[in-house]
Amino acid sequence: MSEAAQVPAATLLGIALALFLIGLLGVMVRRNLLFVLMSLEIMLSSAALAFVAAAARWRQPDGQVMVLLILVAAAAEVGVGLSIVLRLYHRFETVDGDEISRMRG
């Protein structure tokens, strides 16, 4: 582990950006709410990658702390989001996000 990583910082940011955009594409394209949640996970973990890259760049632990907070936020989001999906499935018998838009008020 003491060996040099020596990755250019811009490359890592590009990778994080690519992952984020893949997640964004998933959120835009998919209608199944489960897939939307999975794409949100991809986006959150790409943000985590950017934080880790920044932490490694400046040799500070702060970025890693932020990743832990992202993990907590993701866990809470998944818990609530999946219960909403389950609830909607029980009521509407579908996990289609567009179908549920008929619910008003």
Partner: protein, 184 residues
């Protein structure tokens, strides 16, 4: 280490693409787990072992188990896969994919023209992270625990109501709660 970093990044990107193009939720989920493990490897290569272990234990462990439970509970069969195939025509993909690729190209151009700094070869270990976490970010830790409690209460509240019938209903309200409690 640079090879590990690039290889794991490539695996992460490919499996992320597989996640959003997959028809079956279970297959997408397995690809998502693969992506998270690859990212953990990237973190390890970047000198962040603590976060890498957290990624494996919490993300690829607890959160994904939650996902697996829900996918199993919804029990979406081949019917749902046919529905997915109907939804995901080429026309649906065209415009968002074009916009996304355009954004990626623009951002990569901006990144390429930026000053090239390399990431130094230092490992920021668990000790430093822990000290920073409980000294500088103590309030953030407390707020994070509050957020987890809020997520727990929200998941418990939103879970489908228990049917009063004799046959055991798919008791869903316990699962998110268990996952949340495990995270704290």
């Amino acid at each position: 280490m640079i090879v590990v970093c690039y290889l794991a990044s490539a695996v992460a990107i490919v499996s992320a693409l597989m996640v959003i193009t997959q028809r079956s939720a279970m297959h997408a989920l397995l690809n998502l787990i693969l992506m998270l493990l690859a990212l953990a490897l990237v973190f390890l290569a970047l000198g962040a072992p603590f976060v890498a272990m957290f990624q494996v234990a919490i993300y690829a462990g607890a959160v994904m188990v939650l996902f697996v439970f829900v996918v199993m509970m919804l029990n979406l069969g081949p019917l749902a896969e046919r529905q997915e195939s109907r939804w995901l025509g080429a026309g649906v993909w065209a415009i968002p994919a074009t916009l996304t690729v355009a954004l990626l190209v623009a951002a990569c151009y901006a990144l390429a023209s930026a000053a090239g700094t390399r990431i130094p070869a230092t490992v920021v270990g668990p000790k430093q992270v822990g000290l920073s976490l409980y000294r500088d970010y103590l309030i953030a830790v407390e707020l994070a625990s509050l957020l987890l409690v809020a997520g727990l209460v929200g998941a418990f509240h939103l879970a489908p109501p228990r049917r009063p019938s004799a046959e055991a209903p798919p008791s869903t309200d316990g699962q998110p709660a268990a996952g949340e409690a495990g995270d704290e």
